[in-house]
Symmetry: C2
Subunit: 340 residues, 2 copies
């Protein structure tokens, strides 16, 4: 194995972040400290030249983060957290953009570009458990999100069923009885949508309400326009809903917009809950009640788990790490405060 | 110089995209075509192994795109366009995240990580003209956005002054006379804010209105919260404004939110125009009138210019390329249509 920043930090008696600052020049480091780090680098034979490092020890200092969407702020916020965390450890993040396409997810997972990356963080959408189990690439991988469970890789996610039950319990507690779900997927391999729909069904059942498939809107994609179209379909029903639980915040924001266009009052006529807690929902009119996964924590833990595998400090069996979430209640369910 | 995908495409008599599909496996290619491409690859001595390619001809197939913000959808949409265009040419995009920090922009520009990239597309925020002129790195670079002008690099941008004049002319045409500008920057090296403020001033002058510095709000950053705080400050003035021209859409969306909280009607009490045309402004309540730069065109042209420099097909002197923009009028200036 090659020499890692951690090895140098240990030898020099400084933090990994300090070594990274010396090597990458991110921040000024006191001359005496810099000299200690340089000496440790010389003694251990580490070279910050990426090509030389790559040839000598099979490392490039680059980890890939493969996400399905750039235009969804959820992934931008997640990537932001991962990039900052990786930077602290002296790693650069290469963003891979899978477009939620199964073929691209397979390519990334199977080691496409393995020559230039030390490890991979993958947020799969369509990848199946069997795909992951049959993976032959030896590039360390960490999974994030709800795509695949029970695989021999570290996996960082929130409990999607519990989160959906929390969203539904809030709506039920406000007296809503005809609650729609917008954002179901026709492809049953799209796990997150399945898990959130499961939570929706569980909560209905727990409240003694029957499940009406007519209140579940399947969408092609996960965007604002899908939410707007979904509400229009629902409001054309003989018995329209009094609330919407949306698969994600973008869909919920499309629902809010369509409500205005349809002349509906939110939450009086229709209450809306999203999922993701993107910044946009804190400034929408009305502001959006939503499930808030701890995105910064997901990014941090995914990077930490991967780097732990790379530098050998994480040797335990791969584990499923559950990150906390919370329900954030705002105007889309609680109503507008008086202006002031 | 090494062998490029273009060389192979020419030899095999197919498009660069087809070669890329064969080499990278993005999409299925008919067996006969695939064989022709493989033969051309063998004849020309091209190797898709990135490390080997790097050693042999100094190319990695990776271009870096350095952007200041991941959480601003403007840059996500721009990156999206660049990634798609680069993929068509067989290039992968490495996202560099400068955080709008001058030191990081200098690092990126001066060749940080030059070993792993073939070229760089940089959207500078604080980098100065002198910094660019004194650049010694030989890695080909293309600039996007309004950070730096008159430098010997291809530069893709819109005409910010003209765009701002267009936004102001729209507000003036609606009869607004006390128009505020939200998003000025105290650092005069922040060019885009300076240019948009210049357009604001030019339009006022053209309409025979005097410039009131009290209507210009300087913000620390470019986010929704800055816009919300800005409107609160403006509405506390003895003579509050009747319109806001915001530096960008995120600031404008913060203004829209604060207007609701202050009990103001948009556009009756205050009309709002943004800049960027991010998707969010198409679904906000009210929808946002904005300047729409052709982001897809910026991404495409930046990648095309860079690849042209890399493969030698672009040999002309570096040029300033102006990309079109348009004013998109929506509810935040025109008012709400009847629900329906």
């Amino acid at each position: 194995m090659g020499v890692s920043l951690k090895d140098i930090a240990k030898r020099a008696g400084v933090s990994v972040a300090t070594v990274s600052n010396v090597v990458n020049g991110y921040r000024p480091v006191a001359e005496a400290t810099r000299e200690r780090v340089r000496q440790a680098i010389d003694e251990l034979g580490y070279s910050p030249n990426l090509s030389a490092r790559h040839l000598r020890n099979g490392r490039t200092g680059i980890i890939a983060l493969a996400i399905p969407e750039l235009n969804n702020p959820y992934f931008a916020e997640l990537a932001d957290a991962a990039i900052r965390e990786a930077g602290l450890h002296g790693y650069t993040v290469l963003l891979d953009y899978t477009d939620g396409d199964r073929e691209k997810e397979l390519l990334v997972s199977q080691g496409f570009r393995a020559q230039v990356i030390d490890g991979l963080i993958l947020s799969p959408v369509q990848l199946r458990r069997a795909d992951v189990l049959s993976r032959t690439s030896e590039t360390p991988m960490v999974l994030v999100g709800e795509g695949v469970y029970n695989v021999p890789y570290d996996h960082i996610a929130i409990d999607n069923v519990a989160a959906s039950v929390a969203a539904m319990t809030h709506l039920l507690g406000l007296g809503r009885r005809r609650i729609a779900f917008v954002g179901a997927q026709s492809d049953v391999n799209r796990q997150p949508a399945q898990l959130r729909l499961l939570g929706y069904q569980e909560a209905l059942s727990g409240a003694g309400l029957s499940y009406d498939p007519g209140l579940v809107v399947t969408t092609d994609y996960f965007g604002r326009s899908d939410g707007a179209a979904g509400l229009r379909r629902l409001m054309a029903l003989p018995e329209p809903p009094d609330a919407v639980f949306a698969y994600n915040d973008l869909i919920a924001i499309g629902v809010l917009r369509a409500a205005v266009e349809l002349g509906l009052r939110v939450p009086d006529d229709i209450a809306v809950v999203g999922f993701d807690d993107i910044d946009e929902g804190r400034y929408s009119n009305p502001t959006l009640t939503t499930i808030s996964p701890d995105k910064a924590d997901i990014g941090r833990r995914a990077v930490a788990a991967l780097i732990g595998r790379l530098d050998g400090s994480r040797e335990a069996e791969p584990e499923e790490v559950q990150v906390p979430f919370e329900l954030v209640t705002r105007e889309s369910t609680l109503g507008h405060p008086e202006p002031g």
